[in-house]
């Protein structure tokens, strides 16, 4: 059995549809610890030690958040900056080395917008490397990310499918 640490960054969790549904999908799985950053640190005052303790104690990390302006929300970005410190996560530190990293993210736009001819001008893959390389730089094992497009509009049926897949992926991490 492995322990999974889910870092969840949504500024208004109570108002979220897709992310809330996805997070609910992880309910009842043993050995999964979830930190909702905006609930824990409403004024952006991240408890770095507590986060690092949770990271050290786990075997796999999940980053779940919506995409705002082609990047993680401010809190998630701040979490990278404050928690993944030099000498601990990198630069001599290997606290995260070898741990698996799953990225679960949602985008409001339809997938078709992420295209050289679409409103967003680039394929979604072009926005992934920043996050991916953050994990890799800390010597984590980058897993195939999960992306849910059109998060406000997707049908409940589709949302359920993705939620089920998310649950299965996390279960697999726990079992590994």
């Amino acid at each position: 059995m492995s322990r999974v640490f889910v870092v969840y960054a949504h500024p208004y969790p109570a108002r979220s549809r897709a992310n809330a549904r996805l997070l609910r999908a992880l309910g009842g799985i043993e050995n999964v610890e979830i930190h909702s950053l905006y609930e824990r640190y409403p004024d952006f005052n991240i408890d770095v030690e507590a986060e690092q303790r949770a990271l050290s104690a786990c075997d796999a990390v999940v980053w779940q958040h919506p995409i705002f302006w082609y990047a993680p929300p401010a809190m998630m970005k701040l979490w990278f900056e404050k928690v993944l410190t030099r000498g601990w996560a990198y630069g001599g530190g290997r606290a995260l080395a070898g741990k698996a990293c799953l990225w679960m993210t949602t985008a409001g736009a339809h997938e078709s917008g992420y295209h050289p001819d679409g409103v967003h001008g680039f394929a979604f893959e072009r926005f992934v490397p920043g996050v991916e390389q953050t994990a890799r730089f800390c010597a984590m094992r980058w897993l195939d990310p999960m992306v849910l497009f059109h998060a406000h509009q997707v049908s409940d049926a589709h949302l359920d499918t993705v939620a089920a897949e998310y649950r299965a992926r996390v279960m697999a991490l726990v079992r590994s």
């Binding site: 500024p11 969790p13 109570a14 108002r15 979220s16 905006y38 824990r40 705002f68 409001g108």
Partner: protein
């Protein structure tokens, strides 16, 4: 002149005080000297506006009584118990040393031994009224020196009782004991017991009863009755009125009516104290002074020098302060005058015919003049201490680096938080406070503490206001706080002010003075409580934080608009408008947030992409 009405006299006293005191205060000479000068001016040797000095003096002694009652109110029995060493150790030492020296001095100027003993001991007593008022004005009453002085003054009050008692014994013709030994003692004990019982068990229910009538003047009347009544009873059994009132104050110190009593009595105390000082000024016998100027001058200087010297020795012996000590000098200056008890004792001595010739008058004059000299002596001691202090501190200063960049005025709950945050950030601060409770701890952590009134220019200068960068004005009294701001704006314009505002009115007053960094003391705490309430109702933690932050901005902005509105009616309208605006703002917030989680942004333009 003797037929004049009370009101005419009142007009004379009040005008004299209103004219003289502000002038002296303005000149930095203190209110005591102002009252004394007013007394000289209107007295029998000045404009002759008032003649019956002795009656006035006796009446005004109630000012001292009320003052001792108020001091007693501040001291709970447990704290009084902690002072026992200062009272009985320091007090006995002071009376012994000063008394012995002054008795020798009196013998030296040719008084017979009986008269010399009485005069020496009577002159060893200091003036509680002048000493306490002087220390209070300088804000040093709470310092170790102030506490030691106060302990000694208390002891003197106790010692004055037997002193008045032995006058008849010293009379040439010992006729009869005034208060027959054992019976007298029982009377005294009985009276004290009565005061304790009254203070402990009868006063509180009575105060409660009166408070329930909601008649403010009734509670004032009761407070006065309490103090004056107790003082009278005490006087009847031969204890000093002041001591009795002090005892009553101590007994009520723990009661919930303490503050009410304080506010009721305070104005009477102030007025009567002023009257007392005026009466002392009036009693200065300028005729005697004119006839024998050199004798009087010699007596005053000799007496003051002897007593001050002895007091300085007391300060050293009791280790009141360490090092080459300016505090010891200040102590000597504050206590070197003769006391109001001396007037009483010399009066009794005259009646008992102990004093030969004009000595009773001469000594009374000496005491009055020594009282008048106190403020001058204190200022001299302070000037000396400043110079000596600077000379001493130089080498240390260069090692320690320059003054702290921050001055915190007022070290109560508010100032302490500021100070601790600064200290935790590795910054040093200089603290000004008139009653610091935990001085020693602060010293140990490298804070520089100055006792005293932060609105005194010399204290600010000594604290390095000329070189500091920021002054944190955390004073809780609104008027003092504003006075400090005026002073800083005028004398230290380079100093950045961070101010604590007690309420909106205070906030506006600070803004009017051009202060930009102001924090209302309960605002942040209330906002956090509001956030926690929102969270408890299910609002997301981050969202509650955002709402509080928006509220803060809105609130400060509307206060700013409110401030610039002079017209009262318009101010009211502005408050209403700001309330409406707030509602609109909340509506808008809600709409925005709702749209953020439900809208489809990619078809619109402008809204940020969100999931």
């Amino acid at each position: 002149m003797h037929e004049r009405s009370l009101l005419t006299d009142a007009v004379v006293y009040l005008s004299a005080a209103v004219v003289a005191v502000p002038i002296f205060a303005r000149l930095g000479l203190g209110s005591v000297l102002g009252y004394l000068a007013a007394g000289c001016l209107i007295g029998p040797y000045g404009l002759k506006l008032v003649e019956d000095v002795e009656t006035i003096l006796h009446f005004a002694e109630f000012g001292v009584v009320l003052m001792l009652f108020l001091i007693g109110l501040e001291l709970e029995p447990s704290r009084l118990w902690q002072m026992r060493r200062a009272v009985f150790g320091g007090g006995a030492l002071q009376m012994g040393l000063c008394g012995a020296l002054l008795v020798l001095g009196a013998l030296g100027v040719g008084l017979p031994w009986r008269a010399a003993t009485l005069a020496g001991l009577a002159l060893a007593l200091s003036s509680t009224a002048i000493a306490v008022q002087t220390m209070k004005e300088r804000g040093v009453l709470g310092s170790p020196m102030g506490r030691a002085s106060f302990g000694i003054l208390l002891f003197q009050d106790i010692a004055a009782i037997p002193l008045v008692g032995i006058v008849p014994l010293l009379a040439v013709e010992v006729s009869s004991h005034q208060s027959g030994g054992l019976a007298g003692l029982f009377k005294v004990l009985g009276a004290i017991f009565a005061v304790v019982v009254l203070g402990r068990y009868a006063t509180r229910p009575a105060l409660r009863l009166i408070a329930n009538t909601h008649l403010r003047e009734l509670s004032t009347a009761f407070a006065l009755l309490l103090v004056v009544g107790i003082a009278r009873v005490m006087e009847r059994v031969g204890i000093s009125m002041g001591l009795g009132a002090f005892l009553a104050g101590v007994l009520l110190a723990g009661s919930e009516y303490r503050h009410a009593l304080e506010t009721d009595i305070e104005p009477f105390k102030g007025l009567l104290m002023g009257l007392f000082f005026i009466a002392v000024g009036m009693s200065i016998d300028f005729a005697l002074l004119r006839n024998q100027p050199w004798l009087v001058l010699g007596l005053v200087l000799g007496f003051t020098a002897l007593k001050a010297g002895a007091l300085y020795a007391v300060a050293r012996l009791t280790k009141m302060t360490e090092g080459p000590n300016p505090q010891g000098l200040l102590f000597a200056a504050v206590m070197a005058q003769g006391g109001e008890f001396a007037f009483v004792i010399f009066g009794v001595a005259r009646d008992a015919r102990i004093m030969p010739g004009q000595w009773d008058k001469l000594l009374t004059l000496t005491v009055a003049l020594s009282m008048a000299m106190t403020p001058l002596l204190v200022m001299a001691a302070e000037a000396w201490a400043r110079r000596a202090g600077l000379a001493d501190a130089r080498p240390d200063d260069t090692i320690e680096g320059e003054d702290a960049p921050v001055i915190i005025a007022g070290f109560g709950r508010f100032g302490q938080i500021v100070g601790r945050l600064l200290f935790a950030s590795g910054l040093r601060a200089t603290v000004l406070d008139h009653d610091p409770e935990s001085i020693e701890v602060l010293r140990r952590f490298g804070f520089r503490i100055f006792y005293g009134d932060a609105t005194r220019l010399d204290l600010l200068e000594a604290a390095g206001a000329g070189r500091a960068k920021v002054l944190v004005n955390a004073i809780d009294d609104i008027e003092t706080s504003l006075r400090l701001v005026d002073l800083v704006k005028h004398h230290f314009p380079q100093l950045k002010l961070v101010c604590r505002a007690r309420n909106v009115t205070h906030w506006i007053a600070l803004r009017e003075r051009g202060v930009e960094l102001i924090e209302r003391e309960v605002f942040e705490g209330s906002l956090v409580a509001g956030r926690l309430t929102l969270e408890s109702l299910g609002v997301g933690a981050h969202e509650a934080w955002e709402r509080a932050a928006k509220f803060r901005i809105h609130n400060v902005a509307s206060m700013e608009g409110f401030r610039t509105e002079k017209d009262i009616e318009k101010r009211r309208a502005a408050v209403r408008a700001s309330r409406d605006q707030l509602e609109q703002q909340f509506e808008r917030d809600r709409a925005e947030l709702d749209e953020a989680s439900g809208g489809h942004w990619h078809d619109d333009t402008g809204a940020p992409p969100r999931a």
